[in-house]
Amino acid sequence: MYMRNFTLLIFIMMNYAHAETIQGPNLGKPVSSAVVDRWNRDIFPNGEGLPTGAGSAYKGKIIYQQQCLSCHGVDGAGGSADELAGALHSLTDDPPDKVVGNYWPYATTVFDFIRRSMPLHAPGKLSNDEVYAVTAYLLALNGIISEDKIIDNNNLSKIEMPNRDGFINTFKK
């Protein structure tokens, strides 16, 4: 009788503890930093995560015409997919036009998105240099850099996008 009550008490206490932190079976396998580096492809506005490489709009234009134009149109507009350049209206017009040049707050996002998701029919196909080049081309199309500027892993994050301060963080952090 005494034992049973005692066990019950422990059981209740254990359940209480479980409500705080549930104990898992600890089956995660530790991984080396080399594996993490291979998997991690995140890029941050300060340039952290950008791979080594470089490219210019001149080269980027050729890649764009071969790999992107069919969906995004000549000069980044008028295709079946999202408009990338050539906004006819501003953000305060009715209707507004949102493109890379007047809406995107960070140039690093352009690189990150193209590297992970584009071209839609063959993502992951472009080399890092090609992604830098086509990023440079989109930035040049939007009038943010000149056509001969070489974009690389050191200077991409330093490019100031016109709409850098255009966002209101509605979440507290």
């Binding site: 932190t21 930093s33 941050f44 079946s80």
Partner: protein, 422 residues
């Protein structure tokens, strides 16, 4: 008893408890003409054909009745890339609160990957003491819990911003929202196993699809109520909903519920991915845009009667619909049958769960005249679903995402139903 048949608000809305009183429906049948019952013909004495021969054999995996072929997701795909687009849940054809797995809405950026679960892994890394890799099989051994919750795309109902009301069925307008029982491993268990460092504030989640979809999520939400889901309504998650692993972020924008989850990166700051800058941000009239507007605020709509259906003559009907809020439980749904002049409280079907579809119902005596019906929800934080005018006054017309205004249907004297701005 007769009092229950007295309208409680304009347009013939009756007391929400009417259908709950046992026997009352029958006495009501004598008091008001119950058109629905009146039209049922008595059975023929001949047995139907399906009682005169053995039925179909068993099936390994059941399918809906061939007579329900019209209950489908409506698809809108990119002409250049069929895996890019959306499909809507036919909310107007469904009852209850749980969405059948084959009808859960879809938003894919670049198609549905066919993932071999034996070759899929989940990596947790970044600001942790121990970066860890989990196989799908290993996750199946963890203690699990279920969340009954909705997932709603931030772009749901966006046709509401248009200057003219869209004429389509309710689900093909508001059905980028679905509700399931999601079962999986509490994310906090996995994060604690990797031992997060105190400086960690955000978590970047990545999917294993051809878009390698990635978004940033505040760590406090991840530790609060997120799960790595493995099951959807009791069976393994469907490929189009993230098989084999999906991150569930209850009550927050659909895009955060990363499908085909492969990687969680603990950081001090967001990555500013394309899907939290270029998209899923809401442009305001000032030219500034709202960012990280994670919560899906309270919304409700009447699913029956709704556009596409025709009223079957005047008489007693049940108005029913769905309400949900990303901030908690629905505390009240009111219905109007006179264009918003007067409102009556609808019955909420139990159980009313946090961040979950809530079914509401109210009896209604339609007099066969032109009338506008609408619903509005209040959640447990006291937030009330806004009128379209109020929403536009606050946000302008070009926010695209997070449209949650009151939805109005016009019931015409001829029985036709259309979408109106009222």
């Amino acid at each position: 008893m007769e009092n229950q048949l007295e309208p409680v608000a304009g347009g013939g809305l009756l007391d929400r408890r009417l259908f709950l009183k046992r026997g009352l429906v029958f006495s009501a049948a004598t008091a008001v003409s119950l058109q629905v019952f009146a039209k049922v013909k008595p059975f023929d004495s001949n047995l139907p054909a399906w009682m005169l021969k053995p039925g179909e054999p068993f099936s390994n995996y059941g399918e809906p009745s061939p007579y329900e072929k019209s209950t489908i997701r409506w698809k809108m795909e990119n002409s250049m890339a069929p895996g890019n687009g959306v499909s809507w849940t036919p909310l107007h054809d469904l009852e209850g609160t749980i969405t059948p797995n084959g009808l859960h809405f879809e938003r894919h950026h670049n198609g549905v990957p066919e993932i071999d679960p034996k070759r899929h892994q989940l990596l947790i890394h970044g600001l942790v003491e121990k970066p860890l890799m989990f196989s799908v099989d290993s996750l199946l051994r963890y203690p699990m819990r279920s969340l009954f919750c909705f997932i709603e795309c931030g772009g749901n109902s966006n046709a509401g911003w248009r200057s003219k009301p869209i004429q389509t069925q309710a689900g093909y307008f508001h059905g980028m929202a679905s509700c399931s029982e999601w079962t999986g491993v509490p994310l906090s268990v996995l994060l604690h196993e990797a031992r997060i460092k105190a400086v960690g504030k955000w978590l970047i989640a990545e999917g294993a699809d051809a878009a390698a979809m990635n978004v940033s999520i505040p760590l406090e939400k991840a530790l609060d109520d997120c799960i790595v889901a493995v099951y959807q309504n009791g069976e393994r998650i469907r490929p189009e909903n993230g098989y084999p692993l999906r991150l569930l972020v209850p009550g927050w924008e659909g895009v955060l519920n990363v499908k085909w989850l492969r990687r969680l990166h603990i950081t001090t700051r967001p990555s500013m991915t394309r899907n939290e800058t270029s998209k899923y941000t809401e442009l305001l009239p000032s030219g500034k845009a709202r960012q990280f507007s994670f919560f899906m605020d309270a919304k409700s709509l009447i699913t029956s009667p709704s556009p596409g259906y025709k009223m079957d003559g005047s008489g007693l009907y049940q108005i029913t619909g769905l309400a949900w809020s990303g901030r908690g439980k629905i505390s009240k749904v009111e219905v109007s049958a006179d264009g918003g002049n007067s409102w009556a409280e609808a019955q909420l079907q139990e159980p009313v769960l946090s961040k979950c579809f809530t079914r509401f119902r109210i009896p209604w005596q339609w007099q066969g005249k032109d009338i506008i019906i609408m619903s509005r929800a209040v959640d447990e934080t006291g937030y009330q679903q806004p009128s379209r005018k109020m929403l536009i006054a606050q946000r302008g017309k070009h926010g695209y995402f997070h449209y949650n205004a009151i939805v109005s249907w016009k019931v015409a004297a001829d029985g036709g139903i259309s979408h109106v701005y009222a």
